[in-house]
Assembly symmetry: C2
Homo-oligomer: 250 residues x 2
DNA sequence: CGATTACTTTGATCCAAGTCAATCAAAGGT
DNA sequence: ACCTTTGATTGACTTGGATCAAAGTAATCG
């Protein structure tokens, strides 16, 4: 379930090869299986773009929800914050992914979304999306798949947090990133992290020192090379065995 | 965020006071805000009932997905099974809650659902649900809220698994159960657990011995009384402080 | 540019929770 | 009633990761 599950889930959201007509929708997840005219209708709804500077908020916990956001370019994190300062990063998000799904339930955002590099998003007014999805069944179905995939992804993270050791968590994380970069046309074995050790730690339920040590350990074993935020995966197969040794799979 | 987050989420799914007409739908989450005729349409779709004996499967990982399940009565767990036989519980589910949402993405179930006591579920053919939700916007919207709520709930669990200590996890878990029982008209302070210590541990990312010790500790402090599976909450306020207390540096 | 701040690495300890193991209690089967 | 199985509790001990501390390195900014 996880071996490739915290792994496959988040990324399959993207469907670069979708046959959309309008350029501005090409990288989105939603238009899968739509014909040209339907893409047009969707395009009218998602037209509004927004730039988010590195370090600034796309949305904050507690603010009103009106639109979903589709990441057009860049890299973001979402995190839930407790009043005492306890913070948990709930996800890292890249091009093509949809943010704001959590906010549908209460019509308020339940997490913060922060850009980890300069990013661009499309706003998708949710009420309008629901409206047009009434007349475009495949759009509605695709949207349901996306929400479902988010649930599966979260279950994968729960499994990771509930039963994996530090090194396994990091291996899983790196393989997940690797796959997602690769799907987007970037190298699967050579990439730059956008987040700090602390943010990785928060996501993986570890302290930053533990993350750093796990990196060093994997490097000592020649499985990866680490130069600060620059990561090279030298032996992806051994990295995979790290991930699956004590838990998950199926 | 979690203080009342892994807590409120799962249960608000239920909406006992919804004004549905047909008796068979009364406890369901879906009919919120529907008029009588619409409830009728929905009723035609969800009519089929199924009994699940304690210990048996509602669905298994990898099997084909066609219908969602609404729990009509009983108590279930969902879990992913690891190759070595160990299982990670991803949730406990009671009356009114919807199962199978994870399966929409791939059209295969991604987890097992097992009855922890004799239970009854309604089958909701998903294709039909999508179909009728085209003509009943409030049904579609309610369904989206339910999926979103599941995502929020999972984020709460991630926060719990990522940053809470054993005792805090157990306190959070008990308060969540308490609230869900109370919403369904049962005592908030006196109930029987349906699951074993091991299953609780799996859900909370702890070993069963740790769960047992955490129970004993809370009992020693006179916050709860434990007699095997029978739990009494003696001081719900102090239990609440347990949940969010730990010092917690940033 | 150098100074200040933010991030990373590494080492030395400590402790919460895991592991191993014994005992007990309840439930089921014959 | 008697065994067997399953689940719960508790104790002794071990350990993985947290914590504390120090030093190094990369960004950022006036």
């Amino acid at each position: 379930m996880l071996t490739d599950s915290s792994t496959p889930s988040q990324l399959d959201i993207l469907n670069i090869k979708s046959s959309c007509a309008t350029c501005s929708l090409r990288e989105l997840c939603l238009p899968v299986g739509l014909d040209e005219k339907e893409v047009q209708v969707l395009g009218d709804v998602v037209s509004h773009k927004r730039k988010i500077q590195r370090g600034s908020y796309l949305h904050r916990t507690g603010t009103e929800f009106q639109t979903l956001f589709a990441i057009r370019s860049g890299f973001m994190k979402t995190c839930v914050l407790e009043e005492d300062g306890r913070q948990q990063v709930t996800g890292f998000h890249m091009t093509g992914e949809l943010l704001g799904l959590d906010a549908i339930s209460t019509e308020m955002h339940t997490c913060d979304a922060i850009a980890l590099e300069d990013s661009e998003v499309c706003e998708i007014p949710f009420a309008k999306l629901e409206e047009i999805s009434r007349t475009i069944p495949s759009l509605m179905h695709q949207f349901h798949k996306i929400m479902s995939r988010e649930i599966v992804r979260d279950h994968g993270v729960m499994l990771l947090l509930g039963s994996m050791k530090a090194e396994e968590r990091l291996a899983t994380f790196l393989l997940n990133l690797s796959r997602r970069f690769s799907i987007r046309g970037y190298s699967a074995s050579d990439f730059n992290l956008r987040m700090t050790r602390e943010e990785i730690g928060s996501y993986l339920g570890l302290k930053l020192e533990t993350v750093s040590r796990a990196f060093s350990k994997l490097q000592d074993e020649n499985i990866i090379s680490v130069d600060n935020k620059h990561i090279q995966i030298n032996d992806i197969e051994r990295l995979r065995t790290k991930m699956g040794s004590s838990s998950c799979r199926s």
